[in-house]
Symmetry: C2
Subunit: 194 residues, 2 copies
Amino acid sequence: MREVKAGSKKEQTRERILRAAARAIRKHGYEGVGVADVMKEAGLTHGGFYAHFESRDALLAAAADQAGAESIENLTRAIAAAKPGQELMALVNTYLSDRHVAAPEQGCAIAAAGSEVPRQQAEVRRAASRRIKDIIGLIERQFPEWGRSAAHDKAMGIAATLVGALVLARAVDDSQLSNRIRKAARELVRAAAG
Amino acid sequence: MREVKAGSKKEQTRERILRAAARAIRKHGYEGVGVADVMKEAGLTHGGFYAHFESRDALLAAAADQAGAESIENLTRAIAAAKPGQELMALVNTYLSDRHVAAPEQGCAIAAAGSEVPRQQAEVRRAASRRIKDIIGLIERQFPEWGRSAAHDKAMGIAATLVGALVLARAVDDSQLSNRIRKAARELVRAAAG
DNA sequence: GATAAAATATGATGAATATCATATGCGCGA
DNA sequence: TCGCGCATATGATATTCATCATATTTTATC
């Protein structure tokens, strides 16, 4: 009997399914994720799915975490690429960029599907909580000069503003308003960080 | 042939279905709204539905607007009940209250299902846009001393913070964090409002 | 290169659900 | 009070989708 080794064919396929599901959650929402569609997106057919995951629910739980991890990775990259002293605004500009508005499937999982999270199974909610804490921590670290507690408070407020601005910017049917909302959120964050 | 008059039996039944659907959207999300469930909630059986609405889609469009209208009504009431000079913080406190976190089906439609809106039909998006503009206008009017443009900008930023804070507060699996997020958002808005 | 086991595909099944056709019952005008 | 229509209910149909059983292909070891 062969084992499932890291890097094995099966492991790679599982990863591909997982990534496809993580994108599907952000593109179609949790309820919009279908087993067959995810498998097709991963270049496979529907039947083999259960060789990789116990159930659709198990996939959603794993994919929720994966989606969160990808979001954090993007923001971390943006911070790393920023000029010293500009890290927070680099994060904010990346988060509120046209690109992020247009491509939810590659972006923040909370902005893309956050309002569905309260209705999901416990594992999904756990993953979402963990990733939300991660994002808050990422923002918090941009305020080293402030006390831990003050920085944490500011970070939570800023995270809320960013998520809300992106949700509103995507919801409205008027690209000018979408732009204005994001600009206003940027200014609000800048003032709060000042 | 009898006409459908305002206040007629049929009109009242339609209203009941509409209200049930508006609650269902906020409780189960757009995808989670089923014709049979809505009808049962309205005290009817599934078959009669098509005497009142063309299709499930037509119901969703009408119910999205209804849900938005109910949300605005709640906030308007909170402002009206506030002591003079405390209107904005009354709105903020109502929006970020424990009650609102716990009862999405009676609250803000954007916080409850906002991340699903970009995927909905055009009529739903139109209704959402209209109601988002209404909320921004409501907040904007709390800054009479500022110029129109500055008040509008502030209002958009504050709306984003409120929506994001509620989404995050509902998503996390940790009631302490949920409380802290809302408190931080309150402080951020207070500071922004000067 | 042959063979066994793993990985994936094909096809079937059952449940959920939107929609529609038809039946029933209740209120309104005589 | 009686009968006609409107409002609602019952039941049927078709489709979508998760899950599973079985067949086929691929891979790795000898």
